[in-house]
Symmetry: C2
């Protein structure tokens, strides 16, 4: 069934007050007519079976649907690639990511305009509707790598579930690391950090390890930055799925 | 170092006779000048360190590079999605696929023109150059699902390493299946089959199982067809990497 994401304040008693954009989407894109049924979600797990009415911009809530289980935290921290981040946001959402944090690292070439964040949020929302997850991932404002890492508590000890993917360096594979972690505690939050084209600088790698990140490898092959993000999330989601 | 793929017949003794397209690519796209060194590969594992000469269209072979190990067979059989197959070919090549077979299934909407095959082959070649694999995957001409499955030997017994991914059906996960298989024989060839938007028809699933395919799941979430292909390959490549 077709889905749209609404703001909870749009629900007034048993009616949904739709925005012009939502009306356009339901009628012109999804081709729904008065009387047709769809699912409205708030992106935080609430979802309602709803029906378009004859009154323009108003839908009737028919029933409250079961809340899907809240997903375990899976955060993708990715240095922005030059192109292709739209695709990363879409696919990451399908793979069940709960938080996306874009970084500007030393070798990041893109300086995104503030409009990009709005665009990524819309893409994440659409992907969440399509894949019926009921939850829309949070997307943070891009920050500099140095600023981001400074916000982390330092210390030599590895922070559980924090993985920093490096290429062309001899590090343990992400798959066995995640399997060892989740076989003990399948509900453990995971954060995975992926570099830009050209990789991390040696200083960035040192800095991440000094802040408790475990350096991990996605294999001996060379992956583009966008493929690396997807590969890491596919591995983590599959292991979690196997153990939950 | 920059790479291009050449036909072995372009190598005559210690010189490479380059095509106009290759000259354009080396000089205009990769910005190489006479004297600059690059790697020429034949896409089948042979690779030569080479140097552009002053003579237009000619390069000097400096040395024969070590052949990378021949990759173990990993075949992606994918019902063509409506859009996004270019991206699948690119990312599948990065993830080490050796064969790609596009299928036209019951619910496939795309009827690709013959030009598409040439385009996919060029994308695979470029991706192989970028990720320095030395091997370019074979891409087969798209065929109908029914024609393809008829070419398989039937029989009730499961063919080892043949996985048929299904959505919304209770099947064992691809990850544990591949781990069980490869932990016994890490060099085992694998073929993984992915459906189109809208999934397989019940008849197609029955047909595949009757031809020895093991039905497997990529998880409880709903993935678009393109994301499903990459998720499957990321899982298989990571397991193989872990065990080889």
């Amino acid at each position: 069934m077709q889905r749209i994401t609404i703001d909870p304040i749009q629900r007034v008693a048993d009616t949904l007050q739709l925005t012009n954009e939502q009306i356009h989407y339901l009628q012109r894109v999804l081709r729904l007519k008065p009387g047709d049924v769809f699912i409205a979600q708030d992106g935080q797990g609430e979802q309602w079976q709803s029906q378009l009415t004859e009154v323009l911009g108003r839908a009737q809530v028919l029933s409250v649907l079961t809340r899907p289980p809240r997903p375990v935290t899976l955060e993708l921290v990715a240095a922005l690639p030059k192109t292709g981040f739209d695709q990363v946001v879409r696919q990451a959402t399908e793979l069940g990511v709960t938080h996306i944090r874009p970084l500007l690292s030393e070798r990041t070439l893109l300086k995104p305009s503030p409009k990009k964040l709005v665009r990524w949020q819309r893409i994440a929302q659409e992907a969440s509707e399509q894949c019926e997850r009921g939850y829309v991932p949070d997307i943070a404002t891009p920050v500099e790598f140095t600023q981001w890492i400074r916000g982390k508590s330092g210390g030599k000890s590895i922070q559980v579930g924090n993985y920093f993917c490096v290429a062309r360096v001899n590090s343990p594979g992400l798959l066995p690391c995640v399997q060892a972690l989740l076989s003990d505690s399948p509900q453990q939050s995971i954060q995975v950090v992926i570099g830009p084209e050209g990789g991390w600088t040696p200083e960035e790698i040192t800095d991440a390890i000094a802040h408790g990140y475990q350096a991990t490898s996605l294999g001996s092959g060379i992956l583009r930055a966008t493929t690396a993000s997807l590969t890491a999330l596919a591995i983590i989601s599959s292991v979690r799925e196997q153990l939950l």
